[in-house]
């Protein structure tokens, strides 16, 4: 057993499952957005804004943002533990990554439910 405290789920198994589930959600969201753009060639602001005004789209988007946050945390945490060997640099980078993910997530929520 190897102890870790800066990974998302505190367990390799939970990180691994989150990584896979979030990947599926992100794939579905990406396919939906690409499909929407393809089926609406002359896309204008009203149509785009109308899409995001609907509650189901906001829930779907929030789900995708949370998935992206979890996916990025697990993935980038793994990268830092592979390549950053000095403890100070590794913890510093991990904290910056986690803070950035938090900021982007809250920003995303304000965009979704803002004006």
């Amino acid at each position: 057993m190897v102890t870790n405290i800066t990974n998302l789920g505190r367990s390799g198994l939970s990180d691994w499952l989150l990584q896979r589930v979030s990947a599926v959600i992100l794939a579905l969201y990406s396919l939906f957005i690409v499909g929407f753009l393809l089926f609406n060639p002359g896309l204008d602001y009203a149509a785009w804004s109308g899409l995001f005004a609907q509650t189901w789209m906001r829930i779907f988007s929030l789900l995708a943002f949370i998935s992206l946050a979890a996916h990025a945390w697990v993935g980038l945490w793994t990268v830092t533990t592979d390549y950053l060997k000095p403890t100070g640099i590794r913890i510093g980078t991990q904290l910056i990554i986690i803070l950035a993910i938090f900021v982007f997530l809250v920003w995303g929520i304000t965009v979704l439910w803002g004006a």
């Binding site: 057993m1 102890t3 870790n4 367990s11 390799g12 198994l13 592979d82 390549y83």
Partner: protein, 236 residues
């Protein structure tokens, strides 16, 4: 008949400040020798050359090395399989400290093997004769027990290169699954609890170098997938 150009990794920490490649011209007399035979011929030219070997038939796992960029056992690898353009480059197994020439320190590899407790654990009173298995239960161990611990797979694995002190590595995990899959072993939940952290098993990224190099044709990636399935079944 042109001679085979052999480039050998040399390093003697007592006399050399840094490792270097030494060139040899080996007369194979047109025969398709094994790489180990070529090493013997090179040693005739320079008897200071150090490498491990024992059974010379792919059973003991002593002469794992990197041949033209790919790990394998020198004793069962014919020149026709590895030589490109009449050149053969031999290096020690990557990622482990070099003791001398092609001899590496396998300490970390064995430490990870020891961690998975590679022996049967069973608290039940032993039956009079032996613990029996059905043919189906025995079949589960095929493709697992054959490992000879040559370290070709673990030293080909980038995840093991970056974290050899934390990631068990393909060889150790193949053996971990060998005991998890054994119907006679009673320590399954203790074994699984030791493996669920982010490094021991989950640092495997499915690169599958282990499968590509295994001289015995085994599949550690599949075993790692089975361990993940067992962990998932246990924890959900």
């Amino acid at each position: 008949m042109s001679k085979l150009q052999v480039s050998l990794y040399r390093y003697n920490p007592e006399t050399d400040s840094a490792p270097f490649m030494q060139e040899f011209q080996i007369d194979t007399q047109g025969r398709d020798l094994m790489v180990l035979d070529v090493l013997h011929l090179a040693k005739e030219q320079d008897n200071g050359l150090a490498y491990r070997r024992s059974c010379r038939e792919g059973v003991c796992g002593s002469d794992g090395m990197n041949m033209n960029g790919k790990n394998g056992l020198a004793c069962i690898t014919p020149l026709s399989e590895v030589v490109k353009g009449n050149k053969l480059t031999l290096r020690p197994l990557p990622g482990l400290p070099v003791i001398r020439d092609l001899v590496v320190d396998m300490g970390l590899f064995y430490k990870q093997y020891e961690r998975i407790q590679p022996y049967l654990q069973n608290d039940e009173p032993a039956p009079a004769i032996e613990r029996l298995q059905s043919p189906e239960e025995r079949d589960k161990l095929d493709g697992l027990y054959e490992c000879i611990l040559c370290a070709c797979c673990s030293t080909a694995c980038p995840s093991f290169w970056w974290n050899p002190d934390k990631f068990v590595g393909p060889a150790g995990l193949l053996q971990a699954y060998r005991f998890l899959a054994d119907s006679r072993d009673g320590a399954t939940s203790e074994r699984l609890a030791e493996l669920e952290d982010p490094f021991s098993v989950f640092r495997c990224r499915g690169i599958m170098n282990c499968v590509a190099v295994c001289p015995k044709g085994l599949n550690p990636t599949r075993a790692i997938g089975k361990i993940r399935e067992m962990l998932l079944a246990d924890a959900t």
